[in-house]
């Protein structure tokens, strides 16, 4: 960037703002200050599809890997549900297998599926297309990021095959029990888990660097930050959170690995086992909990914020209406992101802390409900008097709103120390977090896949299978998690392998069986979805260009589906936000972002 350029820029700005009308000579587009990004042009099959530097292919690689490991997580959840619903029935389920299933299910779903899918998958595919860039700013680093992720996944899978099996310490991996004999997988499983997480963090940091800098610095001309689709705002803020929060997980992983392998005592207190004193002493398990949750709570929003952003876009496009309160939506995303760093100890109310500490974290937790509620109101108000098309993405978006409100409200209860203490470590908590960060973001993932699948493949997913998928998943999720809240109320603790003949469990036995059956059905439907994805790839109904009549740039590439380099010869120039649907005064039903004001002279500016 040179000084001459900057001077020129200021002059044009001065003349333009003085004119003040909506069709000013504003179409004098700013001079391109930098030459186009030099792209790496792949020549062989290997560099095109395997060691690929194109963000779109990397996004698909991320998504496929995350989906593959996600299905393993799904099958693990069947294992634990079978044990809980029908204890002492299945010979292949022992306490160790049960705990390993719980642990791996949790870790896989939160980190290797949702984080990787939202940021690695959707982030890579959508960021360059939506901001009008040819590719990520550091394509090579981006490629390495995916391969680090793949290695992390492979290390994780390898832990299933080492002596002792994978770790069964619970997804929070609390020391000291995580690395002590007696916990399943305390031999090699826990080490591989910690190594895998560290690799994931390193790989993610490389990807995150790309997402942030591409969004900040490589947007096309006219694409101001406040003209970006909310999807990008969500992914951007989540990536910033991840860059700041994942180091905490990394630090915790490294120190626990050293405790395990070198016998240091970062987290290990004095321990007597089998009548003998171990070498450990003086370490603080609470310190691990603080580090873990300093990562763990932002992690909730790392998953939720991209979902918030994507669902805003889905609702707007499929209700043919601009997002209600775009600015408030951006504000809310940023505020939620900032607040998410000062609420972590609400996961630790029963760990023992100064009462004032609990008071502080309860307060911040309740404050974070305010911007979140603003977002929910805005989604509802976007739907209000909209032209709602009940397409599958819209169905999933509606499912998301209901589920998110549901899980959010139980969160308000759990955020209060007094209510949390009796409910802590019961199934109420399990039901809460599955609703709010399991089902709700997954609804968005599904909606987004049905929405963007035509862009990626040029074909629609099968609509009938899609409707079945939605209804079974939506109704089934409630069949699973509503009864689970009740189980929590009657005091059934989570993480227990079996309740045996506990007196208060009598009313819970039937419920547990019901939940298990529902979980099996919902799980099976996901395989139907997978089948749909693979068969529609070559026999799905051909989609015309921009089938949902959306405004954002990814639908307006010269080639459809977009090809290497995204935008052909000339990058598009942006003149408006992506929500110009049914603009008053315009004869067009929607105005894409790159349509210049002179092409739609009668359109009036919309307030937001």
């Amino acid at each position: 960037m040179t000084d001459e350029y900057r001077n020129e820029k200021i002059e044009t700005k001065a003349t333009d703002s003085s004119s003040g009308s909506y069709t000013p000579p504003a179409e004098t587009i700013p001079a391109k200050e930098a030459p186009d990004q030099e792209l790496y042009h792949a020549k062989s099959f290997w560099t095109k599809w395997v060691f690929c530097q194109d963000a779109k292919v990397i996004g698909i690689q991320y998504a496929l890997t995350a989906t593959a490991i996600g299905f393993i997580g799904l099958i693990l959840s069947w294992g634990m549900r079978l044990q809980l619903g029908f204890p002492e029935t299945f010979s292949f389920l022992g306490p160790a297998t049960y705990y390993q299933s719980v642990t791996m299910h949790g870790m896989i779903m939160v980190i290797y599926l949702l984080t990787a899918l939202f940021l690695g998958g959707f982030g890579n595919y959508l960021i360059p297309l939506m901001v009008g860039a040819r590719d990520m700013v550091f394509p090579y680093v981006n490629m390495v990021s995916f391969w680090m992720f793949l290695i992390a996944v492979l290390v994780l899978i390898a832990s299933f095959f080492v002596p002792g099996g994978p770790t069964g310490a619970g997804w929070t991996l609390y020391p000291p029990q995580a690395i002590l004999p007696g916990t399943p997988g305390s031999e090699m499983g826990i080490v591989l888990m910690l190594v895998s997480l560290s690799l994931f963090v390193i790989g993610f940091t490389m990807g995150g660097l790309n997402y942030v800098i591409t969004i900040l610095q490589a947007r096309t001309r006219g694409m101001t930050l406040m003209r970006m689709p909310l999807t990008i705002w969500g992914i951007f803020t989540a990536t910033v959170l991840a860059l700041l929060a994942f180091p905490a997980l990394f630090v915790a992983c490294i120190m626990m690995t050293l405790d395990n392998l070198l016998g240091t005592s970062f987290f290990m207190p004095e321990i007597f086992t089998m009548g003998e004193k171990l070498e450990y002493g003086g370490g603080s398990p609470i310190l691990f909990q603080h580090l873990f949750w300093f990562f763990g709570h932002p992690e909730v929003y790392i998953v939720a914020l991209p979902a918030f952003g994507i669902v805003s876009d889905l609702i707007s496009v499929h209700a043919r209406k601009n997002v209600f309160g775009y600015r408030m939506m951006v504000w809310a995303i940023v505020i939620i992101g900032a607040l998410s760093f000062i609420v972590w100890a609400h996961h630790m109310y029963v760990s023992g802390m100064n009462p004032w500490f609990g008071f502080f974290f309860a307060t911040t937790t309740l404050i974070i409900a305010v911007p979140t509620a603003i977002k929910v109101y805005n989604w509802v108000l976007t739907l209000w008097r909209g032209n709602i098309h009940l397409t599958i993405p819209m169905l999933f978006s509606l499912g998301f709103i209901v589920t998110f409100v549901n899980g959010g409200i139980t969160g308000l209860f759990l955020g209060n120390v007094i209510i949390d203490v009796p409910l802590s470590d019961t199934y109420f908590v399990v039901a809460h977090f599955h609703m709010v960060m399991g089902i709700a973001p997954l609804m968005v993932v599904f909606g987004a896949i049905y929405h963007w699948y035509p862009l990626i493949t040029g074909r629609h997913l099968n609509q009938t299978l899609g409707k079945i998928h939605f209804w079974v998943t939506f109704v089934g999720a409630y069949a699973i998690y509503f009864p689970m809240h009740y189980l929590g109320f009657i005091g059934v603790p989570r993480r227990y392998f079996e309740m045996y003949d506990s007196p208060y469990m009598t009313s819970g036995v039937g419920l547990n069986q019901f939940i298990t059956v529902a979980a099996l059905i919902v799980g099976f439907t996901q395989f139907l979805f997978l089948y749909n994805i693979f068969t529609s790839w070559y026999k799905g109904e051909k989609s015309e260009r921009n089938p949902w009549k959306a405004n954002s740039l990814e639908w307006h590439t010269p080639d459809y589906p977009p090809t290497h380099g995204n935008f052909g010869k000339e990058l598009p120039v942006v003149y408006r936000w992506p929500y110009d649907f049914s603009v008053p005064g315009s004869d067009k039903e929607y105005i894409p972002q790159h349509v210049a004001p002179s092409e739609v002279p009668t359109a009036k500016a919309e307030q937001t």
Binding site: D16, S19, G20, L262, R327, T608
Partner: protein, 211 residues
Amino acid sequence: MSKKELNIFKLLSQKPWEASQSAIDNQHDGKTLDLSKAKLGVRTIMVVSTVIFSLFVVSYSDRMLVHDWRSLSEPWLLWINTAILIFTSFVFHKAKIYSDKNEFEKTKNAILLVGFLSFAFITGQLLVWQYYVNLGQYASTNPANAFFYLFTALHGLHLLGGLFFWGRATTKLFTKNYSISKIKQAIELCAIYWHFLLIVWFVLFGLMIAT
């Protein structure tokens, strides 16, 4: 161009739908900050590293309060290593000044000296490890030792990562295929990173001798 966007409150209170704002926005060239991508990349890395080291420092301060903490006595070798690191940063600063003045012959000498000094520093750190191991001070002996090994290892790994990019900058400097601006940028960014690692070392070393 983007002074206005540096203030997040101003940015987020823009009214993009108003004609006047729209006219301004249409002139926007798509960049938020007046920085090159590489520079922003280095800064992001430094922020992430700072978070990592800060969390270690927090853990350190928490752990040292426990009664089993026995501080290590620092060998004089550690002071020499510190001096080497300071001198490295100084030479790198010189290299950057030379390259800014287009005196590339001097830059080449300086940049090679930087590489030599950096490897000398890492060797020095390994000697310190050897010194402690010979004394029977292993990582598991005491939490202070554990943190010492952890800090030095992480700092060393950061330096090795930097040396990877130093290698690339050196290649650019010694081959003729690269534009001068690219060489200058590579040297400048490496220099910033070296200064950053020096500051990190001051903090870690300071913490260790102060406690």
